[in-house]
Amino acid sequence: MSAVASPDATVAWLLVTAAAFWFGTWCYARTHQNAVLNPMVVAGPIVVAVLLATRTTYADYAASVALLEWLTGPAIVALAVPLYHSLAQIRAALAPALVVVVAGAATAVITGAGFAVLAGGGPAVVAAMAPKSVTTPVALAIAERVGGVEGVTAVFVLLTGVVGALTGNALCRLLGVHDHRAQGLVLGVTAHVLGVARGFSISREMGTFAAVGMGVSALVAALLLPVVVPLAS
């Protein structure tokens, strides 16, 4: 992301991204919020197609649309508003929600580290893999502390988030879990900020509980990882 974007490239790529997303939102609304046609699934390939057609590298694209990534900062702070409005609902479900998040976060840490060991990964791989289900900055800070490779951890975090956000709801329905609070927690624990975004695109309740899941699981992982990783490697 060290590339410097020209003003025209910034405008052009913001336009492509916003237009693709706008089209994705339109498809989503037209199909009565069919999960397969969620805005990200539609907009992502469109942007990729334009990138390929114009032979633009991902690094150049990312530098051009840095503004969008920057906006996640204020958006996360602004999550306080929907959280405040749902405070009564969160309080009412706080104890079970905490149990769910601690169980989920512990499973994420143990499967992350354990499966890496089973696949024959050395200490560096285990340390890069274990923090995968927490938000990128958290995962990177943890990976650094337990000796992981930062670049690789970032890739693992991203993969986990994309897969988790795209499959979480379908998986829940498959298991007979229809409650928006429960689905929100699953999204937050397995797909961090991508899960929160997905949750808010379905309902405020799901988004709110995803935010709770993301916040608490980051804390659990931060406490568990320095203990689990040395044990596993």
């Binding site: 907009a43 992502g44 958006a75 508003v81 929907p82 897969v163 829940c172 007979g176 229809h178 397995t190």
Partner: protein, 127 residues
């Protein structure tokens, strides 16, 4: 509108400062969010002028993370470098995590979908 952005940027910066000083593992915006929530609780409400810009930002989170999600294109190169095995392992781990979380959540937080007339008759709690 402007007041909202002043407050949000100030709390983001405060969150970054707190993160740097005491909690290096937690991202600054997340601390800023907790600070803002605390301010609303103390104040006993959300200023009316905060509602629209906050809804606009939160509602477009998926758009804001779209560029980062496309970083998966870069990930492909790394996977090709011999990390494919670990990418598969990661998917298996995510699946197990999602199933365990969903199972626990389903057990503890699944609202009943049966209509009231079909519910078993409730008994007075035993003392």
């Amino acid at each position: 509108m402007l007041g909202f952005f002043v407050v949000v940027l100030a709390l983001w910066l405060a969150g970054d400062a707190i993160a740097a000083l005491v909690l290096p593992i937690v991202p600054g915006p997340l601390i800023g969010m907790v600070l803002l929530l605390g301010a609303f609780v103390l104040r006993g409400g959300v200023p009316a002028s905060f509602e629209a810009p906050a809804a606009g930002l939160v509602g477009h989170l998926t758009l804001f993370i779209l560029p980062a999600s496309l970083g998966i294109l870069e990930a492909y190169d790394r996977v090709a470098e011999g990390w494919a095995r670990y990418a598969l392992v990661l998917l298996a781990g995510s699946l197990v995590t999602a199933v365990v979380t969903a199972a626990v959540a389903g057990g503890l937080l699944n609202r009943r979908r049966t209509p009231p007339s079909r519910r078993p008759p409730s008994r007075p709690p035993a003392r």
